[in-house]
């Protein structure tokens, strides 16, 4: 008698949790710390996914001496070839993974960097709308762009660990990779924000005009933030392509962005741990709902609509009654406070200025 597959559940949940965590942490860097209301998060996720998918499929074919232009990976012949060839050689799989991650970072980051230009001209409240509409523009473009499959998208993307054989083990290895990337993202962002540049991020968020008048190159800081945030989102996107083994334009709808926003707002703007908790709660509830809803037997209304209504209300309620979220923003941690405390305790102050 088959039992509940707890291990499978954990692997699957934590993988999704990991992918969303990267998005939430970077969104928190952009929106929570630097004040960029990025409603186009899905753009960078999508770019990463397409970069990962395109590189892996084309190169898998090419390096196995199949001409990817004769058997394009979006055609049935290409897919048959990909299933035949993909995921057989460990060094090739790992190499493609590494390459995809790097290129996805650069590609998504660069687009983020360039998108700073239109949003400089509009006030903070309009940044969201500009990026949102760019996301839709990207989707229309992808549907028409044949080399990445157009409306078909790309399928049968070889997974990086499928050479292991056992699906559980390869899933576990992939999970470790995802969680490793989450840890890397978390530590990088945590260190970035608890440093002088983190102080500048917060200053720009609080008052970008004052920051500009204090000599901070605000456009560069915004571009940098979007570059970093988008780059990491791109890496999450590349991993997502491997996880789903298929990408198509309609995966990258604004709903993804809104989900991430709800997670970040619930967890607390300006607190990365909060974001992770927000993601964990959301993804876990989603998973549990999948187990619970069939037993309710409700067919007149869709539980999914109720879930989204709840998400919408949650955003409003958190903003109204708990604007800081579950975990409030923590004060900046740099050695300055510590040094100041020492000085004040000693009662010595050197009044030097040049």
């Amino acid at each position: 008698m088959p039992e509940f597959d707890l291990l499978g559940f954990l692997i699957q949940w934590l993988t999704i949790f990991g992918l969303y965590s990267i998005l939430a942490i970077t969104l928190n860097l952009e929106a929570g710390f630097a004040g960029l209301t990025n409603f186009g998060k899905v753009v960078f996720y999508g770019i990463g996914a397409y970069v990962g998918a395109t590189l892996t499929t084309y190169l898998t074919l090419h390096l196995n001496n199949v001409d990817p232009f004769e058997y394009p990976p979006y055609s049935i012949d290409g897919i048959v070839k990909l299933i035949e060839l993909g995921g057989k050689s460990p060094p090739l799989s790992i190499g493609l993974l590494a390459l995809s991650l790097i290129i996805a970072f650069i590609a998504a980051g660069s687009v983020g960097f360039l998108l700073t230009y239109p949003i400089l001209r509009v006030g903070p409240a309009f940044v969201g709308f500009t990026l949102l509409s760019f996301g839709e523009l990207m989707r229309v473009f992808l549907r028409h762009y044949e080399p990445v499959g157009g409306s078909k998208g790309l399928a049968a993307i070889p997974r990086p660990f499928s050479w292991v054989g056992d699906p559980k083990l390869s899933g576990f290895l992939f999970l470790l990779l995802v969680l490793g990337l989450v840890a890397f993202t978390y530590i990088t962002m945590d260190r970035l924000t608890n440093s002088p540049i983190g102080r500048v991020f917060r200053a720009v968020r609080d008052d970008e005009i004052a920051a500009l008048c204090l000599g901070k190159h605000v456009p560069r800081i915004k571009a940098l933030t979007l570059f970093i945030g988008s780059g990491f989102s791109g890496m999450a996107g590349a991993l997502m392509a491997y996880y789903f083994t298929s990408v198509n334009p309609d995966m990258f709808v604004p709903a993804v962005t809104f989900n991430v926003w709800a997670m970040v707002i619930l967890g607390g703007m300006g607190n990365f741990t909060g974001s992770i908790i927000g993601v964990a709660l959301f993804t876990l509830v989603d998973r549990l709902l999948a187990f619970i809803t069939p037993t309710l037997g409700v067919t007149a209304i869709s539980p999914d609509y109720i879930r989204w209504m709840f998400v919408g209300l949650l955003i409003v309620i958190v903003l109204l009654f708990m604007p800081k979220g579950l975990l409030a923003e923590r004060p900046l941690k740099t050695p300055a406070a510590d040094e100041a405390r020492k000085l004040l305790a000693e009662g010595v102050g050197s009044a030097q200025h040049t």
Partner: protein, 256 residues
């Protein structure tokens, strides 16, 4: 005494509105110069043009460097003007509300290793500099009597301290010219005098101040020279005592 700042025939039109129309002003080094005028006379627009918010429609803004060379700064961006050594404050104070007083001051210094993105994640690279800056900042805060507020949020400060803090932020750099937009607005008389005493003290140390102020009772006791703007044009200029008695000024203030 050479001029640190010269504004020559400066004009700024917004559509048909002539916010500034041919203004010429010079601010000598190590002086306190006042700029007064009724509401809407173009004082803040002048500051905004000098600090790079707006490009002037006509005219030029010249700034003298440390080494004595003169440079045009109109058309530069605000952050670039700041890096040339011009600090401004705002009529409505603009502090970073989520940061502590100490951190507000620490944002200012321009060349921080920890603000470079590749160095920021590695604390060891910037910790030494950060500690040095912190010592300097605490020193400054103590000197202006704000030693007790080092860890306070700026939202907890009094209006006077907020005004003071905006000025102190500038002192973390080697800036030499301060443009203060109504430093004494909303501050009671005693505190306002205290603030201007500090300004006078800083002037002795070699700084230059160019101040927009409505509270003439305080201002006139401290400035060396006053310009009066009216409808975007210079109405009068001179020593405080001369200006106060200028009939044109009196008429503009009462009639305007």
């Amino acid at each position: 005494m050479p001029n640190i700042l010269e504004v020559r025939d400066l004009a700024k039109y917004f559509g048909g509105v002539r916010a500034l129309d041919g203004v010429t002003i010079s601010v000598p080094e190590k002086s306190i110069v006042g700029l007064i005028g009724p509401n809407g006379s173009g004082k803040t627009t002048l500051f905004n043009v000098v600090t790079g918010f707006y490009e002037p429609t006509r005219g030029e803004v010249l700034l003298r460097d440390d080494d004595g060379s003169v440079e045009r700064i109109d058309g530069l961006n605000p952050n670039e003007v700041f890096l040339k050594g011009v600090v401004r404050t705002f009529q409505v104070p603009r502090l970073f509300t989520s940061l502590t007083v100490l951190e507000n001051v620490l944002v200012t210094p321009p060349v921080q290793i920890g603000e470079r993105v590749l160095d920021a994640p590695f604390k060891s690279r910037w910790e030494k500099q950060e500690r040095e800056l912190a010592r300097k900042a605490v020193g400054l805060l103590k000197r202006f009597g704000m030693g007790d507020y080092v860890y306070s949020r700026v939202t907890e400060l009094s209006v006077a301290h907020i005004k003071l803090l905006e000025t102190i932020r500038g002192l973390m750099t080697s800036a030499t010219l301060y443009l203060l937009d109504e430093p004494a607005a909303g501050v009671d008389y005693g505190v306002a005098r205290e603030l201007f005493n500090y300004i006078r003290g800083l002037r002795e140390e070699g700084l230059t101040f160019f101040i927009v102020e409505h509270r003439l009772d305080v201002l006139m006791d401290y400035v060396d020279y006053v310009y009066v703007l009216h409808n975007g044009k210079l109405l009068s200029e001179g020593k405080p005592s001369e200006v106060v008695n200028d009939p044109k000024v009196i008429e503009a203030y009462i009639g305007g």
